[in-house]
Structure formats: C-alpha cells, structure tokens
Amino acid sequence: MSYLEHNLKAVPTGFRKIFYLNWPLIVLLTAVACVGFLMLYSVAGGTLDKWAAPQMKRFGVGMVGMIVVAFVPIWFWRNLSTLAYVVSFLLLVAVEFFGSIGMGAQRWIEIGPLRLQPSELMKIALVMMLAAYYDWLDVSKTSRPLWVAIPAALILAPTFLVLKQPDLGTAILLVMGGGLVMFVAGVSLWYFGTVLAAGVGLIWLTFESRGTSWQLIKDYQFSRIDTFLDPGSDPLGAGYNITQAQIALGSGGWAGRGFMQGTQSRLNFLPEKHTDFIFTTLAEEFGFLGAFSLLALYIGIIAFCLHSALTNKDRFAALVTLGIAGTFFLFFAVNMSMVMGLVPVVGVPLPLVSYGGTAMMILLMAFGLVQSAHVHRPR
C-alpha cells in the first residue's frame, strides 16, 4: 500500500472538491487574465470585438477546462503522462510534414475544427513526462548517467523538432522547462554545470556555423541576435521591434500615460502589439506601477504553486506543480526580458495576457494539473 493510497481517505470527493481548490491561485490567474483583457481592449483602439472578447471566451473555456482537469485525480494524469508525451511528440512530427505556415514557421496543425500548436502542448507534456519518470525512478538512481541520459533524450528529441520548425523561443523553453524538472528532481549539480558549459560551446558553434552550409539557425534568427546586440544598427529594420518596444516602455514613466493614452502602441509603432509585445503597452499606459504590479501577480502565482508543491508529499504532484510553475515563470521572465532588451527577441508570449488561443487554454489546463495536485494531495 503506497503512501498515497494510504492517505486517500483524506482526499475530498465529488463536488466537495470545489472547496479544496487552490482558490488564491485562481484569483491570481483571473487577475492576470483581466489585465490581459484590459490591454487587448486598449491596443485594439477601444474595441472589445477585435481581441478582448475572443480572449475572454477562451479564458472562460480554459477556466472550465482547468476545473475539469482539477477534479480528475492527479494519479490519473500521472498514468496519462507517457501517452500525452507520445501524442505530443507525434503531433510535432506531423507538423513537420503537414503543418501549415504561420509567421514564417511551421507551427500549426489542424485536426478537424481544432487548430493546434503541438509545441505548446509539448511544453506541458514534457513536464508531465519527466515528473512521471522521476516519480517512477528510484530516488537513489536519480544522478546515475544512464538515468540522466533518458530524461535528457526525452527533452532533446522534441526540442530538435521544434528547432527545425523553427521556433527558437519554444525550443529554449522546452530545454529550460525540462532541465528545471530535472533540477528539482535532484539531479546532481555537476550535470547542470556540464550542460551550461556545453551550452556556451553550442552558442559558439552556432555563430561559427553562420554563412556555412550547415548553418544551425535561420538568417532571421541571426539578425535578431545581431540587433539585440546592437539595436541601433538598424533602427528601421530588424532592430525596429526592440527600439520601439523600449521607447514605449521607457516613456511610461512612474504612473504611465493613462489607460488608452499610449501613443506608441496605439499608433502602430509597435509590432505584434497584441501578442509578444503587449507588455510594452501595459508599461506605457500604466507605467512602472502597472508593470511592477503585473510582475508581482506573476510572482504571487509562482509563490502559491511553490507553497502547494512544498506541502505536497506526492512526488509526481510536487514535481508537476513545480515544473508547470517553472515553465510559467520562464514564459513571463523571457517575455519581459525580451521587451526590456535583456535577451534577444524570441517568440515567447506573455502568459495569460498575450492574445492567443492555444497558449492560454493549454496553460489553464496545466494549472488544472496544479489544482488537481493540490486537491488530491495526501493529507
């Protein structure tokens, strides 16, 4: 009799589960989503129909999905992890062959009425897969090379496919998200040091490959890196995004220009103002106060997840909660760093705020897992 099964009697059943949800987390998620609606309303020039209303609908559907996921016991999801990973992987392979073209990269696949972005799915499936793997693995074997190689392969296989699409942002998130789960699971720090060194080597190799037949990343990705290193070199070309984003952000000042008063974003100076660069609109219209508040909300979400994981004695539940929270952290940290000019521009949306269907729904489903882990924790 497992520890979990031993304590099952304490787990709530039926609709009583609703009282055991992590309500502060739901409130925070909703708060962040509301910030998103507000911003989408603003960048659309004061209309709901363009972006805000569809986003609200998706949020509603996503919330329902989250509750449904939360009501299903966490061990069911653990048993489903491998399947989720395999399906996601196959979809990624499929997208390589049948995917439609969007934004210059193959990212979408259409199954019936559903328009799916398998790489989004993979971010969660990978976390689940690794959590299940470490739940299954004997804790003492965690740092043995063979048992480290397996999760490494599990991470790198989809990463490779995503990189081929090419989607640098998601690839980085996959590696970091997967590595994060491995880190939390207790893999020796030596491995991380080694990987870090190897990563630096790989970056060097990538730059070496430039202009050769075996070039590792596309030209536009190179140019994005170039303009990150020196945005002024091409202020109206590739550096435009960065320069304009920073101007918008910086001009917000302490309290911003006021709701709907952002001249930069509304006047089309910002590209992708409703997706990857929506943070700049917030920063411009609500200033440091608004931007910092959003950051605080995000950190709040992370804190509640961390607390939930630390109080959860189930290994899979804790790992999946930390993995999802970590991935969530990576989303907003990379996006904010990107628009603030700390890292090169990679296509990473601001979670729950940026306009985008699949990303938001999948994220809410993932928080469903966190909720499920919370509800069904051994007591």
Binding site: Y3, V184, Q244, F292, R315, A333, S337, L342
Partner: protein
C-alpha cells in the same frame, strides 16, 4: 511508483531543497526584472519620452502663400492658384515600385515620368515626400484621396502654385518660379527648411528671384501625430506662418501690354520711365514667352523653340541687352563739352562730310557734309563731324565722366536678373582691359556712341530722363510693399548748368519738330504732348574696305542679323517733361524709320493713359495709324483686383 515511507521522506526533502533553490533563483531574477523596469521607467523615463515624442509627433511645415505682385494700378500680375497634387514618401510606402504601379491605375503618369520618379526616389532621402503627380483635376484628386488608405505612403495634397495672369507681358520683369533644384540649394547658405519641401517654388528669374526673400514668407508649423506608416492621425497644434509680402510694381499693365504689342514681331525692347520719380512704367522686351510654362515644367520641345529662336525671347533686352548707343550718345558728348567749357551753345563747327585724322578718314553719315552747324543743329541733323571735332578737344575721360553722371556705364539697382553695367570707356579701362593705349580714333568713335561704348535700353531711358528733368533720378521698379509706399530718397540735382541742358533739350526738340530733324516724321502735333528725342543707328558690323569702296550698302540688302540696330530716345512733353522712352529695334535699320514711330506711339499711350487719339498725329499719317491701331491685340482695361492703391 510504490515507495517506502523512508524513500518518500527522502524524496520530499530533496524536492524541498531544490524547490527552495529554484524559488530563490526565480525571485532573484524577478528582482532583476523589477530593477530593469525601475531603470527604464523611472531613471531613463525622460529620455524615452523624448524619443517617443519624436516618434509619433512630427513637425510639418505649412508653406506660406507667396506674396502677390500687382501693377501700379493694383491689377494682379502674379498670383497663386490651388494645385492638387499627390506625393509619395518612400519610408512609408515600403515598395515604391508597386505603390506607384497601383497609383498609375488611378491617375495618368507616363512611363517616362514613372522611370524618372523611381530614379528620384533612389536619390532622395526616404523621408522626403516626392511629388509624383501635379495639377490633377478634381476627379483625379478625389480618386486618389478615396483610395489613399490602401496606398501606403501616398498623400494627396492641396498646395498653392504660382500663376501669371499676364504671363507674356511680364515674363521678363517678373521672371518665374520653379521647383527648388539641388543647384539652387547649393548656392544658399543655411537654406530655409521650406526649401526642403519637394517642388517648393523658388524664384528663378526676375523680380521673383531677386525679391525671393520678401515674396516667400515664413513657414508655419503643424504638430501632427502620425502612425508608423506616416499617415496623420490628428493635428495637435498649429502655428500659422506669415505669407510673403505683396508687392506693387511701378509698371502700368496697360502700357506694358501696349508696348509689347506695338513692338510686334521685332526683336526689340522699350523702357518707359517717369522723368521726375524714376518710376519704370513699362519694360517690354520682344518677343516674350509664357512664363507659366516654366512654373509647370516646360517641355524640352518648347524650351528648344525658345532657345533656338534668333530673336532670343528668353533674354530681357531692356536690362540685359547691351548695344552701342549710336547717335543717342551725342547728348553725352555735347553736355561733356558744354560742361567742360570747351564750347558754348552758339559755337559752330563746319562739317565737310568727314574728318581726316592720322591718315584715316572718319565719315559723317552724310557724305556730302552738313556745312556749318551749332550744337542744336548738330543734334537736329545728327552730324557726326561736329562730335568728332568736339571730342578731340575734350578727351574721352571727360565724355565718360559725363556718361556716368547721366546714368550710363553703371549698374542700376533693380530687382531684375542680370542687370547689365554697360560701358563708358576710359583710357585706364582700355589699358587694363586690352593692355593697349587709347588712341584718338577710339575717342572719335566713342563720341558718336560707337566703338567700345555699350548701353542697355534702361541706361538710355535713365539718361534721357536725367536730361529731361535735370535731376539724378534712379530707376525704380517696386512702388509699395504690403501697401506701404517704398520711400525714395530725395532726388539730387544733376548739377549741370540749366542753360546747357536747355540747349541739349532744344536740340532734341528740333530732332522731331524741326523740318530738318532726323525724326520729323515721328512728331506729335498735339501741342501739350510735343516730344523731344534723338535717333540712333548703331552698327553691328565692321565695314570692310571693299564695302567702303563700293559705297555704303543699304540695310535692306543685308541679312537680318547684320543690319544696324535702330535706336530712339525721347521725352515728352518737350516743355514740361513727364516721361522718357528709350527703344531699340535689333537689326531694325535706321533709328528714325524703325524706332521713332514705335516710340512715339508708346509715348502717346503713356501720356494719354489709353490708345492715343489720332489728333495727336500729323494729318497725313492718321489713316495709316488708324489701321495699325486696329490690328493691335490688346487686353481690355481691368479694374484693380487686389483693392490696392491706385494711381
């Protein structure tokens, strides 16, 4: 998997440790983000604000309305008309090629123009709007305006463009405006930002060019919010500029029109000046051209027609044309001699038809000779020998000094292009210019306005006016600016002995009114308007020895371009002078036949303020004059349009 409680505890501890490390890392990174926000939004906020301001708010210039130009009666000579045009800004258009192709579906742009425009786009800065179509009809303009949202970078604009309602009559005086060229800009230090506006109209010639700074005005500015495609979203503020100054010229449009019409098909020029004030009432150079063609961009075919015409329509002969003044210069020699005390008005000289000097014969135009003549008679009959004789006694420097006093050989300050200086030669001048000594033959030639002496019709008009009034008048073209009269300084006296001036005037009166005068055929019989003047015929060829041996060839036997220039200067009324006229007909032959009749008509028009009455002409000529008047194509009198001061 199933795990023992010990293992589970181990697992939980491990996770907790790593989770706390992770959480710490996350909070640290969040702190970095917060610090970055603080730095950008609080510390550097002002910098970014400035950048943002420049991004979305652009300062656009409002071109001022160019100053209007009126004639002395307030009739509009140069105005502005609405001009519908379309510009493309490369920065906003993106692919200029495709935008231009789309635009060509809406408005006609020829293949040549399109190619030229694409070349211009490459040459100019991407932020400079280039005018791709000009002078569109209202239909074409609205077609573009309606489709503008789907044509990035395309802006339909309404601007002002110069128009000359009396283009031909005033082409030389006013000149014309044209689009600013790179060459124009290269000449100007610190050019007005207005000149950066593509196809901004800049004065190129004449008054338009010389008074550019008064006419242009000051640009206003508009602060507009634009989106990243450069399209204006709204206007934030506006500061009106100041329109250019309105000018009123001294020219009388009706007289100007009549003068040009009267010059007809000749290559000729006439200047009418007020002898008391120096106001220029007419300055016509024939043939003229349509200055509006230049504003719109003249076609190369039209331009070639103008440049290849041997009558040189583009040249303003009134101020740019330099001619030997011929016998009209004899007043200068006469006054120089009188002023130097060499002769008195009663002294006589005998004319045998020539003067022998250093083995060379200097002929009088009348080979048989005039016999004994005094000053008045010498002018009346235009005896050359009289002046050969007098000039030897006074010397060239005294003659040229008098020429300068009478306004010859100096550049008059008029706001017109290439105002010629002319030449009244001196010994020093020849030494400097040719490195040769002045010889006595040069003096003889100069005394009758040949040789080195050069003057424009303007010079001769000023000379005549000064003789007529005895005052050192200077020519004046601008009468008032913005309705405020241009103050002219007190006109000084010439400082010549009135008796001497009276003698010269008497001679000039005799030229026309005495039966033996060279221009007796062009007399005015109306007692109040009697004219005084002097004919002149200036050689444009050197008479070869062979030609001299055969005797003087009649002008009519020569090709046009080798015929003599016909000159005539006059003032009227002879007893109380008001106006002076100088006129040249290039290669017209003799001054009395070709120039004097035209000058008389123009003088009469000036005196009468309208077509001269036939009663002013000698009875025998009235029939011919009547039919000639009927053939002239004149403008109808017009009332002042600008509400300006009338004369």
């Amino acid at each position: 998997m199933r795990r023992s409680p010990k293992d589970a505890l181990e697992s939980a501890r491990g996770i907790t440790r790593r989770a706390l490390m992770l959480g710490g890392a996350q909070v640290s990174f969040a702190a970095v983000l917060a610090l970055r926000m603080r730095r950008m939004q609080l510390e550097q906020a002002d910098e970014y604000r400035l950048l943002a301001e420049g991004n979305s708010v652009k300062i656009r210039l409002i071109p001022p309305a160019r100053g209007l130009i009126y004639d002395r009666n307030g009739v509009l000579l140069a105005g502005n008309e609405q001009n519908y045009r379309v510009t493309i800004t490369r920065e906003d258009a993106g692919n200029v090629d495709s935008v231009l192709t789309d635009l060509r579906h809406l408005i006609p742009i020829s293949d040549d123009d399109a190619a030229a425009l694409l070349a211009e786009f490459k040459r100019r800065s991407p932020t400079t709007p280039i005018t791709v179509a000009d002078r569109l009809s209202w239909e074409e303009f609205t077609r573009v305006a309606v489709n503008a949202p789907s044509l990035p970078g395309v802006t339909p604009e309404v601007g002002l463009s110069r128009i000359y309602p009396r283009a031909a009559d005033f082409a030389h005086v006013l000149g014309y405006v044209g689009p600013v060229s790179d060459y124009d800009l290269s000449l100007i230090e610190n050019p007005d930002p207005l000149l950066g506006i593509p196809k901004f109209q800049l004065g190129k010639l004449g008054v338009e060019a010389k008074l550019e700074n008064r006419l242009r005005g000051k640009a206003g500015t508009r602060r507009v919010e634009v989106n990243s495609t450069g399209r204006e979203m709204r206007e934030l503020g506006r500061q009106e500029g100041t329109p250019g100054d309105n000018l009123q010229l001294t020219i009388d449009y009706q007289l100007q029109n009549y003068a040009l019409a009267r010059l007809g098909n000749e290559s000729a020029a006439v200047v009418v000046i007020d002898v008391q004030t120096g106001d220029l009432l007419a300055m016509s150079s024939a043939p003229s051209f349509d200055s509006n063609l230049f504003v719109r961009g003249i076609s190369s075919a039209n331009y070639r027609t103008l440049t290849e015409d041997d009558h040189r329509p583009l040249a303003d002969k009134t101020v740019q044309g330099l001619y030997p003044p011929g016998s009209t210069y004899k007043m200068v020699t006469a006054l120089a001699a009188l002023d130097a005390g060499i002769i008195s008005p009663e002294d006589t000289v005998r004319c045998p038809g020539y003067v022998e000097l250093g083995g060379r014969r200097f002929h009088c135009w009348k080979h048989s000779g005039h016999g004994r003549l005094n000053l008045v008679q010498s002018l009346e009959q235009s005896c050359d020998v009289f002046y050969y004789d007098v000039s030897q006694r006074i010397g060239i420097d005294k003659i040229s000094e008098m020429a300068h006093r009478l306004g010859l050989g100096i550049r008059h300050d008029l706001p017109m292009s290439a105002v010629a200086e002319g030449l009244a030669p001196t010994k020093a001048w020849k030494q400097e210019r040719y490195g040769k000594d002045w010889v006595i033959g040069d003096t003889l030639n100069s005394a009758i306005g040949q040789g080195y002496v050069l003057s424009s019709p303007l010079h001769l008009a000023v000379m005549t006016a000064r003789i007529a009034s005895g005052k050192a008048i200077t020519p004046r073209l601008v009468r008032s600016v913005n309705g405020v009269e241009v103050e002219s300084p007190e006109i000084p006296d010439l400082g010549l002995n009135p008796a001497h001036l009276a003698a010269v005037r008497a001679g000039m009166t005799a030229v026309i009114n005495s039966g033996r005068g060279t221009a007796n055929g062009s007399r005015i019989v109306a007692a109040d308007w009697r004219m005084a003047g002097k004919t002149g015929t200036s050689q444009v060829r050197n008479i070869s020895a062979a030609e001299r041996a055969r005797g003087v060839i009649s002008n009519n036997d020569l090709p046009w371009e080798r015929r003599d220039h016909a000159l005539f200067v006059a003032f009227a009324p002879a007893e109380a002078p008001r106006y002076a006229v100088s006129l040249i007909v290039e290669h017209g032959g003799g001054g009395s036949a070709a120039a004097a009749p035209i000058a008389r008509d123009i003088m009469l028009f000036a005196l009468n303020g309208a077509l001269p009455p036939l009663s002013a002409y000698p009875e025998s000529q009235r029939g011919r004059i009547k039919s000639q008047q009927d053939t002239l194509d004149l403008v109808a009198p017009e009332t002042a349009s600008g509400g300006k001061t009338r004369s």
